[in-house]
Amino acid sequence: MKKFIGTLMLGVLAVSFAGTVQADEKQTDVIYNVENSYTLKIPAKIDLQNLDSPIIGTDAHNIKPMQVLKIQLSSANLAIDEQGTITLTRQNEKGTAKKLTTQMFASGDLQNPLKKDVPFFEAEGTSSEGSTTGLTFTEIEGEKPAGTYNATLTFTASVEDK
């Protein structure tokens, strides 16, 4: 009987010890979170006369899986209408401003002019060299009174879920 009680006590101790060990085995998550980061590369100005075709994209980017960086023309661009026509205005204008118009295209797609709020460039994954695309413009036609014509453009970037 004594032997039985001793064995029982040992059994109880073993079970309680095992329970204690199990209670101590809490799971610990080791987390290392790297936020999305990128450096945009935009044309400083667009000189249709004297400069090479401008480029736009990223200088580098590090985007999480299942997400994508998108670039588009901002809705705040006053020089662009809904059809994507860009109006260049002659500088130092007095009185009625002289204006010229053009349209902008990306990635060699000459069918669809870039419009406001419509993404035209995407980047995903990680790249230390970034990725870019070229911008092209329709030839300015018609009478061109002498002077410098320009328009300031604003590009919007955002990271979105795929």
Partner: protein, 155 residues
Amino acid sequence: MKKKTIISAIVLVIVLVCGYFLFQHLQQEEKLLADVESAEEWTGERQVSREPSPTIEIPGFDSIPLKADSTQQQVNFHNPKNNTCYFKLSLWRDPDTKLWESKLLEPGKAIYDLTLNQAVAAGKYDQAMLKYECFTLDKQEPLNGSEINLTLNVQ
């Protein structure tokens, strides 16, 4: 005999003078021909060689953390040193609420501390935006700019 010698001398002089003038004439003709460019046929205006289009580097953010109910904030805004333009940054809680605007920021310079126009309550603001306006270094004329859509994490 003497007469013959004189005539020969005169003929020789005439030949020499004529030869000299002929040589001069030919040389002049050769010189004139050398001045004419061997050019192409005019087929209309061609594009002259162009300079590379300058670019601006703009740091992008997916989210920015802010302290709740405080106007004093710590951030990491900078103008990359490769740029050749000023930045003017502004932080927007939503398209209608500007929280802060910088003065002109030179290339290679950063803003780590700023004071907001108003404190922001705790929460996530996913209509936020960091706006970059760019200006030339010499005349401070406007250049192309950018808007970075982001989330403000206010805690």
